[in-house]
């Protein structure tokens, strides 16, 4: 089996306009989830 380079068609993401913006959205959402879980911990301890 030979490994061959294939031209990659780097499609745009269906939302957010660019991949970098989408990555930023995922990471910010994750920060928000952790912050919410931290508050959840504080409220219930």
């Amino acid at each position: 089996m030979s490994v061959q380079n294939t031209p990659v068609e780097d499609d745009q993401p269906p939302i957010a306009g660019s991949w970098n913006r989408l990555y930023a959205f995922v990471l910010l959402l994750h920060v928000a989830i952790i912050a919410a879980l931290y508050l959840f911990t504080k409220v219930h301890s």
Binding site: M1, V3, D11, L22, L27, L29, Y38
Partner: protein, 599 residues
């Protein structure tokens, strides 16, 4: 089990498997068998990636872990979304550009054949072992349900999943996983709603949250850092990121899932979907365990959750002792229930003094109950000193069988089986693909026709299935299944990830340096793991040496004792980061000491 539950269980499982086999009936080339037709949309990839990771162990062990230890296990997944973003940005474009079947093919392009082969072999060892555990976990369920021996059950479970993976290859895995994951998500939401309604009406959902919070079960985020604390925000974010980079970026069981996408964009979207929904999904599964915990504050739980052990105890010479312990457990439960109600009433009335007094009483009674459970464990061990007394994995199962309404038992068991088959089939498919592509076709049997490699792929799937069955027979040696899977992964992922990190980010380092660095790093990680289980024994020997030797040697032994204790206390999640950094560091030193001429 009621006929309606049987109907739901069998109909769900057989229809999904039959659909997968029918949908992949035209697979007739090794490429379509190993790689699929590369036509999957992002939602199928996302659900397939989630289904591969969420094995039956997730649904058996995780609620039990929350029941015993609260929700802090969620932090284990905090690194996952970060890893998804890193992989989407760096690894996926490279895999697509090189049009690879496996992640390890890239390593031959970047380094040489031995780096590719070593990484493939490390993957085969760890994934082969883990596949045994993913068969073993649901077999516990079925054996208890059917009254079959565990050995027979493991055999039946394994043969079924081997059949449909052999039949349709990687595409059968993906198309069945789409439906399996849908059943899993819908079923878990319904289960959580039902458990909420099972909590006594005078307590309600808010009361359940108050009770769980007061008893420390809702502590999700722990900001205190400690090397030996398995689950805190730092181990989750730092070590967890490394673990998931390795699992999703270099473990063929996952790489194969997203390389089946119809474009790079679809694969990226599938991984980001996983990054967004994984933490909320795990929260829901852990929360189910918390609700079961609250439920059992008002409904007496079994003194021991493994029914098979209890039946053995009742039929033994220790049955009277067991009955006495059970009666004591009943008394403690009644007192505890009253104390919990007092604690809740005081919380609602903002009476902090009474609340704290009642909580201290509940905690004392919990200790008494745990003491009685320990005595029951001792009785079980008197009958069979090799019996498995750890019953965390039975908590959720016991609740399903005892308290879920008609029809839901069948659906929840379908979830457990779906999860088991979805992850096992991914593993078998990936093991066969790596064996054929990276070892068999690359170095052992070259230049044969496609039919030969298609048949070889099917036979290797059968072979790995048989090995997974063998490992499943030894799985009962592990105390907690989900931890066992993660520990096995952490022993090998660090070195694998280190090789990929060097490949991606240290462009001047060649194959020789990374090969030896990976071997040394793997040996160090295995040594650390050995030390962690034998600290007392090794330090005992060192202390003996210290007492019978010269001052200088005694000081060396004392220092060694300190080091063994420090290394032995490191939690397994950190092995991922140590292994990775060791490979990178040693490879850099080796390359500096003896530079390799880069071609």
């Amino acid at each position: 089990m009621h006929p309606l539950d049987w109907t739901i269980l069998l109909l769900t499982l057989f229809s999904i498997v039959a659909y997968g086999v029918w949908k992949t009936r035209n697979i007739n080339t090794s490429q379509s068998y190993l790689q699929g037709d590369r036509d999957l949309p992002w939602w199928t990839i996302g659900l397939s990636v989630m289904a591969t990771q969420a094995s039956a162990i997730t649904f058996l062990s995780t609620p039990g872990q929350a029941y015993n230890d609260g929700m802090r296990f969620l932090q284990f997944y905090f690194g996952l979304p970060i890893a998804m973003v890193v992989l989407c940005a760096f690894a996926l474009p490279l895999y697509y550009k090189l049009n690879v079947y496996t992640a390890y093919e890239y390593l031959e392009r970047r380094f040489d054949l031995r780096a590719r082969s070593l990484t493939a072999i490390l993957f085969l060892i760890q994934r082969g072992l883990a596949a045994g555990l993913t068969i073993y976990a649901p077999s516990i369920v079925l054996s208890e349900l059917m009254g079959w021996s565990l050995d027979i059950t493991i055999l039946v479970m394994g043969i079924f999943v081997i059949f449909y993976t052999v039949s349709g290859g990687t595409k059968a895995v993906s198309v069945t996983q789409l439906h399996q994951m849908t059943i899993i998500l819908v079923g878990m939401v319904v289960a959580v709603i039902i458990i909420v309604f099972r909590i006594p009406s005078d307590i309600g959902f808010n009361g359940a949250m108050d009770i769980a919070g007061q008893l420390g079960k809702l502590k999700v985020v722990d900001t205190d850092f400690s090397w030996n604390n398995r689950y805190n925000i730092w181990s989750g974010l730092i070590a967890g990121t490394f673990l998931f980079l390795s699992y999703f970026g270099a473990d063929q069981s996952q790489v194969q899932r997203y390389l089946s996408g119809k474009s790079l964009a679809e694969s990226r979207m599938g991984l980001l979907f996983n990054g967004i929904f994984k933490v909320p999904m795990q929260f829901m599964i852990l929360f189910a365990g918390i609700l079961v915990f609250v439920f059992y504050q008002f409904n007496k739980p079994p003194v021991h959750f493994n029914k098979a052990n209890v039946l053995q105890l009742e039929a033994s010479q220790y049955s009277d002792d067991y009955r006495q312990l059970n009666a004591r457990y009943d008394s403690v439960f009644e007192l505890k229930q009253t104390a919990v109600r007092t604690m809740l009433a005081a919380t609602r009335n903002n009476d902090e003094t009474l609340r704290d007094t009642a909580r201290a009483q509940v905690q004392r009674l919990q200790k008494s109950a745990a003491g009685i459970q320990g005595e029951v464990d001792q009785l079980i061990l008197k009958i069979d000193d090799k019996a498995l007394v750890e019953d965390t994995d039975y908590v959720f199962l016991s609740f399903i069988m005892g308290y879920m309404p008609l029809g839901m038992i069948g659906l929840l068991l379908a979830i457990i089986f779906s999860a088991a088959w979805s992850s096992t089939s991914s593993e078998l498919s990936a093991l066969a693909t790596t064996t054929v592509v990276d070892i068999y076709r690359r170095t052992a049997v070259k230049n044969r026709d496609d039919r030969h490699y298609l048949n070889a792929s099917r036979w290797f799937t059968v072979l790995w299935g048989a090995l997974a069955l063998f490992f499943a027979y030894t799985a009962s040696l592990f105390e907690n299944l989900i931890q066992a899977v993660n520990i096995i992964g952490s022993l090998f992922y660090g070195a694998i990830l280190g090789i990929f990190f060097v490949a991606f980010f240290m462009k001047k380092i060649g194959g020789r340096a990374v090969f030896y660095a990976a071997l040394i790093a793997e040996a160090v990680v295995l040594l650390m793991f050995y030390l962690s289980g034998n600290v007392a024994k090794i330090n005992g020997i060192l202390a003996d040496w210290a007492s019978n030797s010269s001052e200088f040697f005694a000081a060396s032994c004392t220092m060694a004792i300190w080091m063994v204790k420090a290394i032995g206390n490191v939690s397994y999640l950190w092995y991922n980061i140590f292994g990775c950094l060791l490979v990178m560091g040693i490879a850099w030193v080796l390359e500096k000491a003896k530079p390799e001429r880069m071609g």
